[in-house]
């Protein structure tokens, strides 16, 4: 089967002052549809860079990224925007909800972007936030905010759900709840979920595991028998 995502020799350099930093160094890997993928690595390994490139938030320095058979590395600004709009759901470490919009409004925002958006109330109910619809982000706990942020991402019915350290700002119990929510989205709804984290404990739960260090891939494995997040030994 043709993979959903294929990275081919992707390199990304940042100019930092007068120095150049190579955040992704000739990376190649594949991800299939419906997989629950974990990208692991210590801080500075280039995990977020890979995710940003995949999400169309940044441009490669060289190489190709095929999503559904199209090379998004060749896209211009306009095509990238359309790509983000139609295919990508993002979940950030610091949630990044719009502080001046309510929980419901934050999720319903997606209706302005895509035509086949799912029902915001239903999605919020599925992440357990149906009782907080009219609260502002500042009135919620971190875990609750992250659930809203996941709801917002899923509401677009995206091809890819990209999560950048989704539990990084949460305590471990809440973190488990969020991760199992994401795993459920993949198992039950068939979403392709990609999580970036530095917590290697999550590794056994992944369908596919990619380990990065200093911008290079050190391990890429497919796990035929992943465990559920709750069973992982934290």
């Amino acid at each position: 089967m043709e993979p959903l995502i294929r990275f081919e020799n992707v390199t990304k350099e940042y100019a930092y002052g007068e120095n150049k930093i190579r955040a992704a160094d000739n990376i190649s890997f594949e991800i299939h549809k419906g997989e629950f993928t974990v990208i692991l690595g210590p801080s500075g390994a280039g995990k977020s860079t890979v995710l940003n490139l995949l999400g169309g938030m940044d441009r490669v320095t060289s190489g190709s990224i095929y999503v559904n058979g199209c090379d998004i590395a060749t896209y211009d600004e306009k095509q990238l925007t359309a790509y983000r709009r139609d295919h990508i759901g993002f979940v950030f470490q610091f949630y990044n909800l719009i502080p001046t919009l309510t929980v419901y409004e934050n999720v319903a925002l997606t209706k302005e972007l895509v035509r086949n958006a799912l029902d915001a109330r239903e999605i919020l109910a599925s992440v357990g936030m149906e009782t907080h619809l009219n609260k502002f982000p500042a009135q919620l706990s971190g875990g609750e905010q992250q659930r809203v942020s996941i709801a917002r991402a899923i509401c677009k019915n995206p091809t890819l759900l990209l999560c950048d350290e989704p539990t990084g700002a949460l305590d471990s119990e809440t973190g488990v709840l969020i991760l199992s929510l994401l795993q459920r989205m993949s198992r039950e709804k068939g979403h392709t979920v990609i999580i970036v984290t530095h917590n290697s404990a999550l590794a056994p739960a992944a369908d596919r595991l990619i380990r990065l260090r200093s911008g290079k891939i050190v391990e890429e494995v497919r796990n035929p028998s992943p465990v559920s997040v709750e069973e992982v030994n934290w």
Partner: protein, 761 residues
Amino acid sequence: MLLKKMFRDMRQNLSQFIAIFLMSMLGVTVFAGINAEWQGMKHERDRFYEESRLPDFWLLGRNFTEEDLEEAAQISGVEAVSRRLIADAVVQIGKKPALRIHIIEDNELSRPHLVEGEAFDPARDGIWLDSYFSEAHDIRVGDTIRAEAGGMVFEKEVIGLIMHPEYVYCARDETQLFPQPENFGFAFVPKKVLPEILPLPYNQLMIRLEDSADAKVVQSELEKRFKGKYSLLQTHETHLSTSMIEMEIQQNKAIGNVFPVVFFLIAALAMLTTMVRMTGNQRIQIGTLKAMGYSRHKILFHYISYGIWIGLAGGLLGLAIGPLLVPPILFEMQKTLYYLPDWYAVLTPESCAVVIIAVLCCGASSYFACRRELKDVPAACMRPKPPRAGRHTRWEKSALWHKLGFSAQWNIRDILRSKVRSAMAIAGVAGSMTLLLCAFGVLDTIGGLGDWMYRDLHAYDYRINLKEEIHQEEIDALKQKYGGQLIQELAIELRKDGREETGFLTVIEPGEQIRFQDPERNPMTLPDSGAAMTCKMATLLGLEVGETFEWRNPGDTQWHITRVEALYRSPTGQGITMSERAYEAAYDTMVPTALLVAGNGSDAVGLPGVKDVKSKDEMRAGLEKMLESMRTLVGILILAAVVLGAVVLYNLGSLSFAERVRELATLKVLGFFPGQIRGLLNKQNLLLTIVGIIIGIPCGYALIAYMVSTLSEAIDMPARVSPATLVLCIIGTLATSLAVGLLLSRKVGTIDMVSSLKAVE
């Protein structure tokens, strides 16, 4: 959804957005208000002129006959011709006020406007009286008045009270500076009232043009056909009433157009600073929106819409309240000077266009503010903005640098590092200083005019105006009794290389009653030959000392050539002055029109050959009154300038504070006392304020000069700012800026070190 976000964002930054709202409102209020005022006056004036069929030309002469009427009517472009007799009478009541009587043949042109009583009817017996004159003397419809003219006394019943388009500015002549209905009025009388024994010497011919006619062509045709039969040809530009009200309208237009520009600039500046700060704070939100797939132009439009909504709301409110509030205040003043049948404000398309300008200013500045944030790829937006690198300056190598101490070093680097922010702070201070200086400077200039004219230049106490037909013996008798200095004043036309102006010719006896000042305002004496010309007239004609120009009496065909021997400055009466000797040597004997006397001359009233007597104080009061309307206008502007200055400075201050929170928190973490940090900020604020003031001073002077130059061709007002005013403006700006600085630096205590520094990676 984004609309909701916008309104909630605005609520969170309420003070800034209210400030921008106020400024856009003030700008439109001032423009639309003043515009509605002068447009309303203009509209009513034009309607009045049309209603009464005001002529385009008046020919003054001795006796215009039926043939003359036909002759004029034959000129192509002439719609109607009419004649009348004008005579000055004295009414036999109280202080014997003067009444200018118009004896009307057919009421075809220049018809009176009825205020009370019955409409003017050329077939009826009776008199129609100036409504302001009748009010001042408590004369009612049905009363009888007695008047004496040329030795003839007559008594008539008042049939109606009227207003007239030739007396919108109701003054006897140029020397009377404001209407005094208790001393002077006008009246209309049908011709059949007079005994029909003698043919009436109609001394005025009125000519009204067709709409399509070329006034210049008709005027030269009139000059040709009536050569020798008239003494003066008046147009709307030279007629006292029509020219005065036109000037007033132009003045208001100039002021109303200049000031809103400054307001809009400041509104745009405030919008820019607010939006730079806001989009800076919302960097991550912008990144999130981008990550979600919002297109660049959608986000751009979202932020531009802040400016558009605020500008629109402020503009529309200004458009609503400007024409409601401003004209009544100004009309109160105008009503004492100009007599129009009705006063109303007119809302013009121009005012609506200014709302669009306000919207564009705010929208464009939001665009420039957020354009930068949107350029980054979303991933870069999500990262906190890298702090701008500090750079070493050339200064640092000098020995001086090390002596400066930390706070000066920090401040210099900080200013150089954020040049745009510093430049905006300086621009804000300079703008406030400019407005304040200009407003107070215009007041000073106006205030100085009276002193200059009536203290420095005119020494006499009384001015005795002489009758036209005065005899030499009568002049000698007056001269013997009062001493003083004789002068002759007449209106002339001047030209040089195709440029033509109207002005005054003054011929003056040797004496001390009028002093002259050279262009630098040092005392000077008149040249013995040729003419001295006022600086303003010389500028208008493009003349310099030593060059020649031509002049003539209006009505004459022959031009005289004269050399400019000297330039002098005079606030009013732009034109030329010749000494008696120079005039008589070159042209004619002097025919005095007034005697200027030191000491008391008030008892000259009623002596043979005396037309009237004016005290200097009276004339000065007239001038002050004329300038009063400008003062009201400037007062409104000062108020706006102060509000504006404070708002802008606060806005800029809070912006730069927000930009530096992280740095300040770092200083705090390092163990600086809040007091030390406040001192640091205040020093920088003081430095920028001083630079701003220094830049603002010349800008203020330039704006005053511009304002003054637009006021009038007839008045030469040297821009003047007294040292006290300058100091006052500097202190005012400094105090506002420092007060705002103190207010902001108080926030140092509230910086939460943990949350300010948390997001740093």
